[in-house]
Symmetry: C2
Subunit: 126 residues, 2 copies
């Protein structure tokens, strides 16, 4: 695995993720960081941070790639699996701190699982 330097760009990106406190799509991140860095850089840093295990990604229902930072994320704990929730109205997307029981499937070797729940969040319900 390539060495990931904690450059200024990396720090800025992680800070934006932390401030957001929820999952962000790559498109959203590119927009938020438009003044700070090039979009190619955003894509590349996200790749590296995911390799390192500092972020994890999943495919949104919108076809976009989403990234999130969570407590469980680390290089060792990479296969860890938790569901995500995406509000169909406001788009807010969060990691759910829940254990998911992965169904047993005979004759295959499961390497990863991703569970995406969609619906209406608390704020959009009221």
């Amino acid at each position: 695995m390539a060495i990931v330097r904690k450059t200024k760009s990396v720090h800025t990106l992680l800070e934006v993720m932390k401030q957001a406190g929820e999952a962000l799509s790559v498109v959203d991140l590119v927009n938020r960081l438009d003044q700070e860095m090039n979009k190619t850089t955003v894509y590349r840093i996200l790749d590296r941070l995911e390799d390192e295990g500092l972020l994890h990604s999943f495919q949104g229902k919108d076809g976009l790639k989403w990234y999130a930072q969570c407590q469980d994320c680390s290089t060792e704990h990479h296969t860890d699996m938790h569901p995500h929730f995406q509000c169909v109205q406001c788009g807010k997307t969060t990691c759910l701190p829940l254990e998911v029981t992965i169904p047993k499937v005979p004759n295959v070797k499961i390497q990863s699982a991703s569970l995406l729940l969609t619906g209406l969040c608390e704020e959009c319900l009221t």
Copy 2:
């Protein structure tokens, strides 16, 4: 809901899905049907068939949209949810005839859930 006519194109597409016997990505479908119809038509027919409930779709880990036909699919039974398995080596993707327990999340209204399992299929394991 618009009326979906069983045109020749619709029939051909459904036949290809049936022959495949597994989930197919839109890109794959467009290629397989290249001689028979335009790619725009493939996209539009898939949309309509999903509305009608004859097919269901999900986002693959590759970022592509995948479609599958299954026994459970019908207009009435639209919110039905089952997991999919995608082999990382050969790409074979199938519906798993399993019930999935959707975790209870407080204060939100879950409308849909999609569970994608990835790993190695029986053939690629041996």
